[in-house]
């Protein structure tokens, strides 16, 4: 019951905890693991402090005080953080690696160019020569490289249910790899403060099945002609 409630609380059109793509799913998994571990550390440290305050004074002699001090510092101050960091990196580095826009082992990558403007998104498919505003269409199960640019100030492109965000910086080009597992409409927003229209600078990514994507492509191209 509680779990159901919690899970439903994690749903939402912008929720990173309701992932719909490999990157977002990896990160959501990382989050839950880190959350569990951090909660444990916080509770243990707090409990130790409360106990240390309440326990009667021990008045150890010089030597045993020295031993106790070194024990606390070495285990709590060095081993605990270093061990946690090693663990975190062991799980985190592969996840980070999978999020990079590297050439995939099989299949092709769809390229989409998105340019940020105050306060809208210009979307362009270079291979298909399709231009759109504030909406992106992608095929399911295919890696997509979003090529990010800006014409004015810094914006940031984020579709929480699919993966991480990347900034759009004037004069620079960044590439963000995304992929959707299931058809659906995924919402995205600008996450770098960009002026008075920032709160409303949103867009959608519609993921189609492979066939539907082709159909959509044809429709748009016919409509343009």
């Amino acid at each position: 019951m509680v779990i159901c409630l919690l899970l439903s609380a994690c749903r939402g059109p912008f929720s990173t905890l309701d992932p719909a793509g490999p990157s977002a799913r990896d990160v959501a998994g990382l989050w839950w693991a880190m959350f569990g571990f951090a909660t444990l550390v916080l509770m243990v440290v707090t409990a130790l402090w409360v106990y240390a305050i309440r326990r009667p004074a021990s008045h150890p002699d010089q030597q045993s005080a020295q031993v106790m001090q070194n024990r606390w510092v070495i285990w709590g101050g060095l081993a605990l953080p270093l061990g946690s960091i090693a663990l975190l990196l062991a799980f985190g580095i592969p996840v980070g690696h999978r999020m990079l826009p590297l050439p995939p082992e099989t299949g092709a990558v769809l390229q989409i160019e998105v340019t940020g403007h105050q306060w809208w998104w210009a979307v362009y498919y270079p291979e298909q020569n399709i231009g759109l505003t504030d909406e992106v269409h992608i095929p399911v199960g295919t890696p997509v490289d979003v090529v990010l640019r800006s014409t004015d100030v810094i914006h940031s492109f984020w579709v929480p249910r699919l993966g991480g965000k990347m900034d759009m910086i004037p004069g620079r080009i960044n590439v963000l790899r995304l992929q959707a597992d299931e058809p659906g409409v995924y919402r995205g927003s600008c996450t770098e403060f960009c002026g008075i229209g920032h709160a409303h600078m949103q867009f959608t990514i519609t993921a189609h099945s492979a066939n539907d994507f082709l159909t959509w492509q044809q429709q748009v191209q016919e409509g343009a002609e």
Partner: protein, 837 residues
């Protein structure tokens, strides 16, 4: 009987020499207790303003799709909330606390540069008022407290908001730099006789680290602010990508300051924790050396992780990995401290008083913030939650937990020292619990809001995204926290009337401030102690009475001077007597004219600004005039031969250290400038540089030779004086001045004739700024040298008063050094890398 009356006479005389002027005259006060308290009270006022802005933000966000305030006002509110809390509350309050406490903890009578304390305060006050005025004029900065370009540039923020931020904050930073330099030198050079470095109270280590971090951490932001203001006001395109600049340069410089800044705020607060826990555990801090080590580690690591604020800007993988691991590593020194505190509590007998409650609150909140910090250092997770409410929650956990809670613990702890009265246990507890619970409701839930995808800095949001109940509860929590803070303030105010009288040393502490009267006299100590251990008061409970009875050192006041010991930086053995300046109007005058300069720049009245520069220089040079052998300071008399000389009779004193620390800060600014230049050269997408530099290398070389000759001539005079010879010094100083003037003229000629397109090319703008930077130093060196020559003529500098040229010499050395380094780079860089394609 005679003893008592003698002692009463001594105290009366001390009071006369050290008192602030009455009435309005107290504005001329330079005493560290007065100035420190002013810093803290002003900081609390700004805290209330910042808090009200936060309440405004939380009210707007309480319900979805609300339009209580306009988007323009909302953007101003969150920008100003961040700016006020960081620059006008957190840093100044901690500086004020350090200024108030440090001399008392190290057994000194005042900080070493009292007029600088006062100047810092007025710069802070006036700068703060200028920034706040923008809010009341409705033109407050609105591009976020880190002012990212190009949003903050002329094109996208044409109003004066950004200028208020850039000029006002730079003005306020003068006070931070002043405090950083002054605290460093005070801690290193004016400790009570015998207090070795390893016998310093642990708080002093924290403040020493903080002060040095200010010295190295603030210059990048000061530089960045100057460059951005020059871009806005004069069109020099440092950050404009179309002219070869780069907006990312701003981010690098800002966070190069901004990350150390977090630890500049955290370290003093951790110092409060490390001071209080042993006192309430009734035993010395366990692992003093471990703590010192972790303070130093924190200081170093904090300069190597600024890029973790920029993981989503698209920087190379390897750099991300480096900064990610470095960011996680800072958890190590922090964990060491947490477990040292734990071990101290474990081994001691803990008396749980009100300050300890705040320490517990600190622990829970700060550890939680530290843990989310490690999470954020992991790049893939950072890409998801960066710039969402998760980060907002994290940074409030770190800053409120890591700064505000310990600060409250410290305020309650030192309150009896300041007021002589105890606060109310009951109201205090209510205040704590409301603050603690309200804080956690607001910000614990905000982590989830961020994970559910709510970006930061949006003024409104749709209903039904799963954010509604979270935001409502966060707002409710915010108001509970505000009620808690209000109760605490009420308690602080009321205790002045209703608090019961505090006994001497009410917490049974071990440090020197508790041997003083409550409140302490302006001179702190009637006579100064000799220190033999880390816990002078525990080892010698009668220390207070004995010092009061004049049994310590420097217990004479017939000379009518404010004096404290100058001691060796490591051993703490006395090396000279520092003669400290008395009440002075010059700091107020200087800060006032600087404020006028700031306002005239804001209004774009550049002619008036130029006049203000001259007007501000006058009190500052007058200030340097009333030093050493000047009749208002310590003129030469038939001094009784003592073991220790007055500082002005020596060749190395705290003043010289102050010059060197200032030059370290100045050098950091110069290095930041070089960093910016290299960065633009290598990383700016549209950088272009001419084949050959536009500056005449031969002209510069000639100018450099003149500068070197001037510098050598000056050094010769300083050496003569150090050997206590003053024949030929006057002529030598005038010659150095003359050579310096020729150098300046030739440098101006080179700059004048160079074909620099400073508004079209970032390259030329950087070159121009570098030459101006050199020119500024040369002009200053020449003016100071001319003043030295004049002082030599009047006899304020002589074989018996050889000190001032020893202070000035490092400045000449530095000026010459940066000149040749710059010249080498002007000549070599085009050869090494060639023009970009």
């Amino acid at each position: 009987m005679t003893d008592t009356s003698e002692q009463a006479g001594l105290v009366r005389e001390l009071n006369r020499v050290w008192a602030n002027l009455p009435g309005w005259g107290s504005l001329s006060a330079v005493n560290h207790s007065t100035v420190g308290l002013r810093f803290m009270v002003t900081g609390m006022v700004f805290f209330l303003i910042g808090g009200m802005l936060a309440m405004l933000v939380r009210t707007q966000l309480a319900l979805p799709e609300q339009n209580l305030i306009s988007v323009e006002l909302y953007n101003q509110a969150f920008t100003m909330h961040g700016t006020v809390m960081m620059f006008l509350f957190a840093i100044p309050v901690l500086e004020g606390l350090a200024m108030y406490l440090i001399p008392k903890l190290i057994g000194a009578r005042d900080l070493v540069f009292p007029r600088i304390s006062s100047l810092g305060y007025y710069c802070y006050l006036f700068g703060g008022i200028i920034i706040m005025s923008s809010l009341f004029l409705g033109v407050a900065p609105d591009s976020g407290w880190f002012m990212y370009t190009p949003l903050s540039s002329n094109t996208f923020s044409p109003g004066p908001g950004s200028d208020f931020w850039l000029l006002g904050i730079t003005f306020v930073e003068v006070s931070a730099m002043a405090a950083g330099i002054e605290l460093t030198v005070s801690i290193l050079r004016t400790r009570a006789p015998g207090m070795t470095l390893s016998q310093m109270p642990i708080f002093c280590w924290y403040i020493l680290a903080m002060a040095l971090m200010i010295v190295f951490g603030f210059p990048p932001l000061i530089l960045a602010s100057i460059l951005l203001e020059l871009e806005r006001a004069a069109g020099m395109p440092f950050f404009d990508v179309t002219a070869g600049g780069d907006p990312l340069l701003w981010q690098h410089l800002f966070w190069l300051f901004g990350h150390p800044e977090v630890y500049i705020i955290f370290l003093p607060a951790a110092g409060i924790v490390s001071t209080l826990i042993p006192v309430f555990s009734g035993r010395p801090l366990v692992g003093y050396r471990w703590v010192v080590l972790s303070i130093i580690l924190t200081g170093f690591i904090s300069f190597g992780l600024w890029v973790h604020h920029m993981f989503t800007v698209g920087i190379p993988q390897l750099a991300q990995a480096f900064f990610s691991v470095a960011s996680m590593m800072v958890a190590v020194p922090t964990a060491i401290q947490v477990f040292v505190w734990l071990a101290t509590l474990w081994m001691g007998k803990v008396v749980f008083r009100l300050p300890m409650l705040w320490i517990m609150g600190f622990l829970v909140i700060f550890v939680c913030g530290g843990l989310t910090g490690v999470m954020l250092a992991l790049v893939p997770f950072n890409w998801q939650v960066h710039d969402t409410h998760f980060v907002v929650a994290h940074m409030h956990y770190v800053l409120v937990g890591g700064m505000f809670f310990p600060l409250m613990a410290g305020l309650y702890y030192w309150l009896p020292l300041v007021s002589g009265r105890m606060p109310s246990q009951r109201i205090g507890q209510w205040g704590f619990w409301l603050t603690f619970i309200g804080f956690n409701i607001t910000f614990l839930l905000m982590h989830l809001t961020g994970l559910l995808g709510m970006p930061r800095r949006i003024y409104t949001y749709e209903a039904g995204l799963g954010w509604d109940w979270l935001n409502l509860l966060s707002s409710v929590g915010g108001f509970i926290m505000a009620a808690g803070v209000a109760l605490v303030l009420l308690d602080l105010l009321m205790h002045y009337h209703f608090g019961r009288k505090a006994s001497r040393n009410p917490w049974h502490a071990d440090t020197l401030e508790w041997v003083l009267e409550q409140p302490p006299a302006p001179y702190n100590f009637v006579s100064l102690p000799r220190i033999q251990s880390r816990h002078p008061v525990w080892d010698n409970p009668e220390l207070g009475e004995r010092l009061q009875a004049g049994e310590g050192s420097l217990a004479s006041i017939e000379h009518g001077r404010r004096e404290t010991w100058g001691t060796d930086a490591v051993t703490g053995e006395p090396s000279e007597i520092c003669q400290l300046p008395t009440n002075s109007w010059l700091p107020l005058l200087a800060a006032g004219t600087l404020a006028l300069l700031c306002i005239s720049l804001l209004l774009g009245w550049y002619l008036l600004a130029l006049v203000c520069v001259v007007l501000a220089a006058l009190p500052l040079f007058r200030w340097s005039w009333e030093n050493g052998g000047h009749p208002t300071a310590a003129p030469l008399t038939q001094e009784p031969p003592g073991e220790c000389l007055l500082e002005s009779r020596t060749t190395d004193g705290p003043g010289r250290w102050g010059m060197i620390i200032t030059l370290l800060a100045d050098g950091t600014l110069y290095l930041s400038l070089l960093f910016g230049w290299f960065y633009l050269w290598t990383a700016s997408p549209q950088w272009s540089a001419p084949d050959a530099g536009p500056l005449s290398i031969w002209g510069l070389a000639l100018s450099g030779i003149l500068l070197t000759l001037a510098s050598l001539r000056f050094r010769q005079q300083a050496r003569r004086l150090a050997r206590r010879v003053d024949t030929g010094v006057l002529a030598g100083l005038w010659q150095a001045t003359g050579l310096g003037v020729l150098h300046i003229l030739s440098l101006i000629f080179v700059l004048w004739t160079a074909p620099l397109a400073i508004t079209e090319s970032a390259h030329d703008a950087v070159l121009f700024f570098m030459v101006l930077f050199l020119l500024f130093h040369s002009v200053l060196a020449v003016i100071i040298t001319a003043l030295q020559a004049w002082r030599t003529r009047l006899g304020y500098v002589s074989a018996h008063l050889p000190y001032e040229p020893q202070v000035v010499w490092p400045f000449w050395l530095y000026t010459t050094g940066i000149f040749w380094v710059s010249l080498a780079l002007f000549a070599l860089l085009p050869m090494a890398w060639g023009p970009s394609p």
